[in-house]
Amino acid sequence: MSYNQNLKDKYCDILNNLKSSGLFKQERLITGPQDAVINVEFPIGTPEMQVINMCANNYLGLSSHPDIIQAAHRGLDEWGYGMSSVRFICGTQSLHKELEKVVTEFLGTEDTILFSSCFDANGAIFEAILDEHDIMISDRLVHASIVDGMRLAKAQHDTYKHSDMAHLRKKLEQHKDYPRKLIITDGVFSMDGDVAKLDEIVALAEEFDAMVFVDDSHASGFMGKTGRGTHELCNVMGKIDIISTTFGKALGGASGGCISGRAELVEMLRQKGRPYLFSNTLASVITAATLEVFRILNKSTERRDKLEQNTIYWRKGLSELGFVLKEGDSPIVPVMLFNAKLAQEISYDLYQEGVYAIGFFFPVVAQGQARIRTQLSAAHSTAQLDKALLAFKKVGKKHGILGLSKEQLIEKYGL
């Protein structure tokens, strides 16, 4: 059947439904490089605004760092633009092996395998190492790419309540007879910014002979004293069997990802990981620039230290203004508003005041949990944070929410 009017109408209906239910996503046009301050057109076609960016995953401020840009230029000159091949045919340069080695050393694991994205890494792993006799037990708030990866696997699956260790124990008891069990969690959860209880998870894994998988996309490069990730923060270096992470956030922000962990599991991926076998190699220019990222991180902890200071400063500032925040130690700081419409309005007003921060509401987060998610960067200066705090103050005042508790907010605006 060709794409006839009937089909066209059907798709238009679906799209219109998204619009009328407020779920239609509109892109904002950024008219320059990623940074602490960016120029934005929103809606597209309206006059450009210069805004402080509080919603990028540019945690370490490396996305447009001159050293990284230079390394990318050099990489392009020395290693060419494309490889036109998957890894195992003729797509592996010594550069790729070098990055795998550097990541392995940085994360304190046994081996590493690169992917074009962490989405691909998470799509590859479960199917490659488990079969229908095994079980995956995942936290209920894991990232969408993990959910898709689990769907692709033949293994059985079950879930536990978010970070609820008693519930995880119950599930492990219930499934103790499966030959291979894999506990699956994010390291830092991207919507709440909370950290998985990896020390307790590892203890349970040891008790029940389970393996542990952690997605550290929102942690690699800055969580823990030397920025190795949540396994460093939780004192379980060397005890996480599989770590997946992205180069698309703190680690330069272009793209690419990897799985790092037990040597045999990484080798299983080289042999059986479908997005590895059937998709092109990570671009050389990105590989070269990512190597430079790790050189910077290995030289000093300055950037993750600055990020930590910024996070403390920002949390303190918002609390003192009287906003309700989600507790946590990560540079993801959700400002809780509970009501979806209020979150949208505040996001809009902040934008008018020169602060770019996005509202999240159902179905991205649970119903009645609407929020503005702010994210810190080492690139933010104290002056920029002060300016952003001033905007939050002004907008908070306008809506009469400064100093209100959760209950008062809900009473005033509803859920």
Binding site: V147, H157, K161, Q367
Partner: protein, 76 residues
């Protein structure tokens, strides 16, 4: 059956600060139960009532409330 379902769902899916559910509470469409966690509900029904509900029957439209669940369980 009603109470057993409500007890199981409360224990398995609700956190301490969630409101108690009734037979009419929307569970899937409201996001209280995510689609990936439906398996444990399916397993519970099979174990507890000896009914194997096929996956296509378990959707946000047809399996959203305890009342709807009981209707479908009765068909098998």
């Amino acid at each position: 059956m009603e109470q057993k379902l409500i007890d199981f769902i409360t224990e398995e899916f609700l956190s301490d600060d969630d409101d108690p559910i009734t037979t009419q509470t929307k569970l899937i469409s409201s996001g209280l139960i995510d689609s990936f966690s439906l398996v444990s509900l399916q397993t519970f029904i099979a174990k507890e009532f000896g009914k194997k509900i096929p996956a296509p029957k378990i959707t946000a439209q047809s399996f959203d409330t305890v009342a709807q669940m009981m209707e479908i369980i009765d068909q098998f």
